[in-house]
Assembly symmetry: C2
Homo-oligomer: 416 residues x 2
């Protein structure tokens, strides 16, 4: 049976007519190589932003059902144009909206969850030897209302379509060559990873990389959908994201170094050291829908502690207000904050079977005279909050100390 490839193209990949033609030729080449191809497409370039702007000119708080009705048109335009472009090359193709293929979602407009996908229509068209093009980012409720899936929604569509069709691979075509051991703009000898586990990708995505949203990786992991992150503009093989293998575990200890400058550190000083007071603080923050990332608590003076935590910069004002209210409520000292921080992280499944990784990380930072302000760890990652101005130095030092410039050769042979 022919291999089934699901390809997703983001907005920059179809930003204009000449790029749409390029994507068409790329899709056709896969088809001509003997594969069945399903393509998931995002809206052209900044179309979605323009539609949102239009809505906001009318009202700052548009009705969410109508908002989805509006912005879902972006992808409908893309799929139609891509189908035309493929026809022009002389190959059969057919486009579908989310509603038409019955991508059934719940009715959480603007952030809907996929409940079910009907494969009948897609499979029927594939059998007719057509390339099937599906609008990303959108679905439909059982009540026939159009929904959208939120940030990274097209990736989610691609993964979900891959799952229900049992695709051999779900290609995320994007504007980078794949996932790198570190941001290549920061670390010159950063290496593109050939393979990565879902968990590693998830950590990398959560810890600052913009390549893939965590949501689609979680979904892919859950249903064991093999993902390939690759460039829309080159023929590179990209990075495969798949289940953890023994080869990965026994290969390099660390797969990548990430950094994130989008958080801010808030400290509530001199919090009375009473039972349940931390719970009370973080409950209050959670009620305000503030996403707290890292937390540390230090003894400050007798009967009091300082509690520090980080939140996204976008929540800074709200957090500061809330924290000041908390200070009053629990009779704490004052609130201080630091906007000039960075979170530097190392990620790798190899960590599980190696000792001393944390020590090696802290040592490397110490050697560069970098002070660690906060630490958090997961099974396959360690993150440190440091001063923002030291972020790039830290990333380079960590990339070097874990020998990441050599990673490609090591893993490639073992994993594939």
């Amino acid at each position: 049976m022919a291999k089934l490839v699901v390809q997703k193209y983001g907005g920059t990949s179809v930003a204009n007519v000449s790029r749409i033609m390029k994507v068409a030729r790329r899709v056709v080449s896969v088809k001509r190589a003997g594969c069945n191809v399903v393509v998931v497409v995002s809206a052209l370039g900044d179309t979605t932003d323009k539609l949102i702007e239009l809505a906001h000119k009318i009202t700052p708080f548009p009705n969410e059902r109508e908002f989805d009705m509006l912005i879902s048109t972006g992808e409908q335009v893309s799929v139609a144009l891509l189908a035309m472009a493929i026809h022009k090359i002389g190959v059969q193709a057919i486009s579908f909206t989310g509603a038409q293929v019955e991508i059934i979602t719940d009715s959480s407009f603007t952030k809907a969850r996929i409940l079910n996908i009907n494969t009948k229509k897609i499979e029927a068209e594939l059998k007719k030897n057509k390339i099937v093009i599906i609008a990303g980012f959108q679905g439909i409720t059982v009540n026939n209302d159009i929904t959208t899936l939120g940030r990274g929604g097209s990736n989610l569509t691609a993964v979900a379509i891959s799952k229900v069709l049992g695709a051999d691979v779900c290609e995320m075509n994007t504007d980078v060559e794949g996932v790198f051991t570190a941001d290549p703009r920061v670390v010159k000898n950063a290496v593109k990873l050939d393979v990565l586990s879902y968990d590693e990708m998830l950590e990398i995505a959560s810890l600052g990389s913009q390549v893939l949203q965590p949501r689609s990786v979680i979904f892919a992991k859950k249903f064991n959908v093999p993902i390939c992150v690759r460039s829309s503009f080159s023929k590179g093989k990209g990075t495969y994201i798949t289940q953890e293998t023994k080869a990965m575990m026994e290969g390099m200890v660390i797969s990548g170094v990430t950094y994130d400058q989008r958080e801010v550190k808030i400290t509530i000083c001199d919090v009375p050291d009473r039972k349940g007071i931390a719970a009370r603080i973080f409950n209050t923050l959670s009620k305000e829908q503030i996403n707290v990332d890292m937390i540390i608590q230090n003894v400050s003076r007798t009967g009091c502690t300082d509690i520090s935590f980080t939140v996204p910069k976008t929540s800074f004002n709200k957090t500061l207000q809330t924290a000041k209210q908390i200070v009053k409520d629990v009779k704490a000292g004052k609130v201080v904050y630091d906007q000039d921080i960075a979170k530097v992280s190392i990620v790798g499944v190899g960590m599980k079977s190696h000792y001393g990784v944390a020590a090696q990380m802290f040592g490397a930072l110490a050697e560069k005279n970098i002070n660690i302000e906060m630490i958090s760890t997961s099974e396959i990652s360690i993150s440190c909050v440091i001063k923002k101005e030291k972020a790039l130095i830290a990333v380079r030092a960590l990339h070097k100390v874990f020998g990441l410039e050599k990673i490609s050769k090591t893993i490639k042979k073992e994993a594939f």
Copy 2:
């Protein structure tokens, strides 16, 4: 029971955000006056043209299914934005695509015919006291493919929706105050008509007026849907188009004067005067999908005739080529043409019950030294082809001779 008003707004009425807000306020005022309101909207300003341009950048002959998939997004944007605008005023509204309300059409993409409309969803939302907003110009096949209805499609949607809901009136909100006795830019004292029969409107539409496409008038007549043509931008009462009444017949003889400069006259000279030769000529033209409008045949010399006919300027090149081929085939003389013609027409149901209307028309033209080159008549109209440079003089003369500047007073009292 509350009155049910269907309002249609064209592209210029929703060309930008401030106009959308205006339309929203207008719709809400009708709702607040106690009516149920269903709104049919076209795409914003030149959106459809821009989408077509985009398609043509990819291919001059886009696949028609994909073309409809593409351009139907224009109306989807409009309905969502109008719903948001109405919400902003504080009134409940809900938007639907053609697919969502199940405007079922055949599968003649780009020029589909409406087969059926499901009223369930619309009626359910009206019952919830919401303003229902429906995307014009589009439908869906039983196979769930998106279709569009062709030129004037939104008007057709509005009329069809009015029919299935049994609306009290179908308002065509446009950029003119209504239907006038003549183009007000040409005849200064042209009068807005308060009422007009379907047949008159049909003739006026067919004879050059841009106010309504004949297609939606035919549909409205067939199902007896009362139409009102009015301005989106003012509070004028517009022109009611309805069944012929006795009052109309006994009112003014003529309701309007139109002119059309979009045709060209072709003459095939010295056609051998044999049986069936005219049929052969017009069969050939029809096979080339050329729409012939007026035809006259004159004896030229013994055993020969000249056959003249008019066609739209857009078909001129094709017609000329075809005519030259015909000359060869039937051994006629030559082809001559005149691009500088105009068709001037008078329209009125009153004509049926009055004698001498044609004579009065020809007399008025003769008085202005205008030569009549072709004549055609229907039950309620008479058209003359004249030199283009005489068109405006003719229109003014006819408007005067039939006393159209006084028409409003006469009809208004009798019809309403």
